[in-house]
């Protein structure tokens, strides 16, 4: 994938807003954001209810995903254009999710909802109506999804990229600072993981930096291009954005997103944890 095939500008979306071949989809951390105004013709996916199983901690199944997209009027042939708040965190998560279930033509709107708003582009509260479809998903592409055992096995062996803020990585905060800090799990990071905050991928307006700047960023922190890479954060959305940068914009071959991320890893019994600003040794620290 390349920037041209995976990313579109806000202006491109505005120019294609009535194009019947595309479906614009908003996905936000704040699931009420869409209801306060959205891009014309955009549909909403709620990451908490539409994209998560409501009993076990996991994604919806292939058949549930098929039913969801069929109900919302998305077909296999549609170009799906995703955007959302928080600099596209959850839109990138949805992008990765669509790829996981094999949707071919999916794009991210550069800068997301923030860029659209800062440009003073129009939002509407009018809800689009779409005919239902018969969507067919593939089995999950597990070449882009990491599980906890993959994360543990990657310590000291693969590139582990922890994209949380420096204070979360070091263990000084347990969650992003717009959320209450009430968590039960341990603080810190997976030993040997490199801290490349997701925000370093983006300009202040939420758009991605240039390919040259992004390449320089990952070269500077010492990512080894010959190794496989796992990106992680707290619950796997911010790391979806970094997965998007490494896999889709920069074309790295084998990049996985660990959706369990720190809320899972930091709750595991007996796994090594490192505290502080340095990656640490593979065995981690103890008190």
């Amino acid at each position: 994938m390349t920037r041209e095939s995976s990313l579109v500008t806000a202006q491109w979306v505005e120019d294609n807003i009535d194009n019947a071949d595309i479906v614009i989809v908003e996905v936000d951390e704040d699931t009420t954001a869409y209801d306060k105004g959205h891009i014309k013709n955009a549909i909403k996916l709620d990451w908490t209810t539409d994209l998560q199983d409501q009993v076990r901690r996991d994604f919806v199944s292939k058949s549930q995903f098929e039913a969801l997209l069929s109900d919302r009027g998305v077909s296999n042939d549609h170009t799906v254009v995703l955007y959302g708040g928080n600099n596209n965190w959850f839109a990138a998560y949805a992008y990765w999710y669509f790829k996981l279930y094999g949707h071919q033509d999916v794009k991210l709107m550069d800068g997301g909802r923030k860029k659209w708003e800062l440009d003073s582009r129009e939002l509407t509260d009018e809800l689009p109506t779409r005919d239902t479809t018969s969507y067919t998903a593939t089995e999950q592409d597990l070449s882009i999804r990491a599980f906890r055992d993959d994360a543990v096995a990657a310590i000291g062996v693969q590139n582990l990229i922890d994209v949380r803020s420096p204070d979360e990585y070091a263990g000084r905060l347990l969650a992003p600072a717009h959320l209450p800090q009430e968590q039960s799990q341990r603080a810190g990071h997976v030993p040997t993981s490199l801290n490349v905050p997701w925000s370093k991928n983006c300009n202040d307006d939420g758009t991605f930096k240039s390919d040259d700047d992004l390449k320089a960023l990952y070269a500077e922190v010492g990512i080894d291009d010959s190794l496989d890479t796992i990106a992680l954060c707290r619950i796997g959305e911010r790391s979806s954005l970094t997965w998007f940068v490494l896999k889709e914009l920069l074309g790295h071959a084998n990049v996985k997103n660990y959706d369990g991320s720190w809320t899972e890893y930091g709750s595991l019994v007996g796994v090594p944890i490192a505290l502080g600003d340095e990656p640490g040794s593979p065995e981690g620290q103890t008190s």
Partner: protein, 99 residues
Amino acid sequence: MCGATEGGLSLDGVNVAKEAVIQGQVLRGGTDPVGNAYVRLLDRTGEFTAEVPTSATGHFRFFAGEGEWTLRTLAPKADPVDNVVVAAIGSVAEVTVTI
């Protein structure tokens, strides 16, 4: 983020004793609430830590850690504005951002 009371955002449901709250309101020209601004929280090194959109009443809130932070506010048709704020566990740092 709605339901704000005059003089500050309601703290109902927030355990202030355990949090280092930074909150406030974005005003255009010092009087008009800005409901479509974005407030970023930068750490002591200037690194991004979090970002929230303002509520319809221009309010925002962060749960930070102890220490000095910078709020960077972006809004349509306005230059970014930085405000330095000190947060402490058990207190609420109120900031009015004027664009």
